[in-house]
């Protein structure tokens, strides 16, 4: 067991997979000579050279498309977006080419590609740099989407993503890159689509992922002091979604709150609410509630930003509302 930062865990995953498979390469803005905008790829250019660690111009649509083209003829690209916000420029490549080429070709072609980068809010970076893009992508059949909260999961899920024969989108977080966590020395790929119960409880299930898992744990610790026992399910994977683990937890606690960044209209929270009411209706003592970003573009002002983002306080208040229903 060793302690790694989240960014180091991601780097280890890429290095190990690139050492094992020459078809894997890393491409994106500033990934090489600059050593990564967030230093995730630090040292990788020195290790692998310019053939496999490839700096691009600012052309998300172009290099995302290059990745898709390379993938359909058998390479296994890792395409880094400096942030997922910029993937909006490449949305067409992901939606129309990566996700659909297998189907359009009648199953003749695959697209084994990884798109990765930091997602959702950072700190006061304004409305155009604070998008939680996973909601857009998780709706698309043909894609897989993961959003790890801890270094070990970041490593294991990225390794699995690289080995997967489908397009996998890895949602990281600028605010998680420096967190440390235990990572087993032999951390291997973690199967996509498996959630984990990161804190056991009996009164209410909180479903979260990425940075919001940490917010949910914070809220659970606060509520423990008032004798409310919260179970936290860390999804890790948004598509495929581990409804079995969610439903098992709700059947135990009879209440469910979903916490995520991004707006409340539609999205991952709405999807989970649908599945819980559909699959565990009789187990519920209260409606499924969501704690999300408020329904406005992200403001710059620090206090307003915190107000708009999901906070432990809002999670606590939401759970208390559910508990008050008896």
């Amino acid at each position: 067991m060793k302690q790694l930062r989240y960014r180091e865990a991601l780097r280890e995953a890429m290095i190990e997979e690139m050492e094992a498979d020459d078809r894997v390469f890393l491409m994106g803005e500033e990934v090489g000579h600059y050593n990564g905008a967030y230093k995730v790829s630090e040292g990788m250019l020195d290790k692998f050279g310019e053939r496999r660690v490839i700096d691009t111009p600012i052309a998300e649509g172009g290099f995302a498309g290059i990745g898709v083209g390379a993938a359909i003829v058998g390479l296994r690209p890792i395409i880094e977006f400096m942030t997922w916000n910029f993937s909006a420029i490449a949305f067409d490549q992901i939606l129309n080419n990566a996700a659909k080429v297998r189907q359009m070709s009648g199953g003749q072609l695959n697209c084994p590609i990884v798109f990765r980068g930091p997602n959702a809010s950072a700190r006061q970076v304004g409305s155009q740099h604070s998008h939680a893009m996973e909601h857009f992508y998780a709706t698309v059949p043909g894609l897989k989407v993961v959003a790890p909260a801890f270094p070990a999961d970041a490593k294991g899920l990225l390794k699995a993503a690289i080995r997967d024969d489908n397009p996998v989108l890895v949602m990281e977080s600028e605010t998680l890159y420096s967190i440390k966590g235990d990572v087993p020395d032999d951390q291997d790929a973690i199967p996509l689509g498996k959630a984990t119960v990161v804190r056991e409880g009996t009164d209410c299930t909180v479903v979260a992922y990425s940075r919001m898992t940490h917010v949910a744990i914070d809220a659970a610790e606060r509520l423990a002091k008032t004798n409310v026992s919260v179970e936290v399910v860390d999804l890790r994977s948004l598509r495929p979604l581990d409804e079995e683990t969610i439903i098992a937890s709700v059947q135990k606690t009879h209440r469910c709150v979903v916490v995520h960044e991004g707006w409340p209209y539609g999205g991952v929270g709405a999807e989970i609410a649908d599945r819980v009411q559909r699959l565990a209706f009789d187990a519920l003592d209260a409606p499924v509630l969501r704690v999300s970003q408020l329904d406005v573009p992200m403001p710059y002002n620090a206090k307003l930003e915190q107000h708009v983002m999901p906070q432990p306080e809002r999670v606590v208040a939401t759970i208390q509302r559910l508990m008050a229903r008896g």
Partner: protein, 330 residues
């Protein structure tokens, strides 16, 4: 900039008779497809290549079987020229399980991996970076393959064209960009969509070689494109080639083409690559042999129609397995 026409062109890999046969096959398949569309046997959109056949056939004649072709939704011509069978094409247009994509792609999404036909893409310009990525893979693996990417004059204003060509130039990828300039972006003439009429000049901004010519005679198309193909294969350098052509039908079946005059159309039909091709072939072969060749194509077309009509629809059971490789992710 290089003027590719000054280079020495290697000969195409096929004789005129073979190339004419392919052009005639494409023409007849599309005429029958239009008929089937009119009776509702083919649905959706149907963008005919009629009038442009010399481009795809001339291009494919200088590609190897393992080279790649990537194109737009006007894809019947290059699919056949690259080696897709008439049966596979027609069954796909009919949406049948025996089509090249099991009836899931349709007219706009023709794929045939075995013959290096990698689509059939229907978002204008978005396949250009994808094609550059295929060429990137060839360079990465040093496999000696060339990618040829086709698009219309309507594609040169969108981001995908510029980013795709720019990256191919930057990374010296083995690709030939073929702009099939048929003078209209759907119903809008070139004069109202681009500020510089000579599209090939866009290559100069990216520092790559370019060429520009009229596609009238298929052999000439082959010879001119072969220079760009050799440049890609031997020097790993991209070329932008503007091939000037004309479609005799509307943008799609729903377009009566009222934005152009009958006189303009008639003028272009005088340069129909099939008429010119047949004339030239008759100077090489006896008329009876040309007639026999056409009769042979006719049998192939009728066989393809019969095959398409008699083939079963795809089963719903293929839907999930063609969306994901492995377990369905939901």
């Amino acid at each position: 900039m290089n003027d590719v026409a000054q280079d020495v062109a290697p000969p195409p890999r096929m004789a005129l008779a073979q190339l004419y046969r392919q052009m005639f096959l494409i023409r007849r398949l599309e005429e029958e497809a239009a008929r089937a569309y009119a009776t509702g046997k083919i649905g959706g959109f149907l963008h005919l290549y009629i009038g442009q056949e010399a481009v795809a056939v001339g291009a494919a004649a200088v590609l190897r079987k393992d080279d790649y072709a990537v194109t737009t939704y006007r894809d019947h011509g290059i699919a056949i020229a690259k080696g897709m069978s008439a049966r596979s094409l027609m069954a796909e247009l009919y949406g049948k399980s025996t089509g090249c994509c099991q009836g899931l792609g349709g007219s706009m999404h023709l794929f045939d991996k075995e013959h290096g036909m990698l689509g059939g893409h229907a978002i204008v310009g978005s396949h250009i970076p994808l094609a550059a990525g295929i060429a990137f893979a060839s360079k990465y693996r040093s496999d000696g393959r060339v990618t040829m990417c086709f698009f219309g004059d309507g594609a040169v204003s969108i981001q995908g064209f510029h980013e795709g060509v720019s990256l191919a130039a930057l990374w010296k990828l083995p690709i030939v960009f073929v702009c099939e300039n048929n003078e209209y972006s759907m119903g809008t003439p070139l004069s109202r969509t681009v500020s510089v009429e000579d599209i090939s000049l866009k290559a100069t901004g990216y520092g790559i070689a370019h060429d520009r010519f009229f596609a009238t005679e298929v052999m000439e198309v082959a010879q001119r494109l072969s220079i760009a193909v050799e440049r890609a294969r031997k020097e790993s350098l991209p070329t932008l080639v503007e091939v000037r052509t004309y479609r005799f039908r509307g943008h799609s079946m729903s377009d009566p083409g009222k934005y152009r005059t009958p006189e303009e159309l008639d003028e272009h039909k005088k340069r129909d690559p099939l008429v010119l091709g047949r004339q030239k072939l008759e100077s090489e072969l006896h008329t009876d042999k040309v007639d026999a060749l056409e009769a042979d194509v006719e049998r192939e077309v009728q066989d393809a129609i019969k095959f398409a009509e008699e083939s079963p629809d795809p089963d719903p059971s293929i839907l999930e397995s063609t969306t994901y490789d492995g377990a369905f992710a939901f």
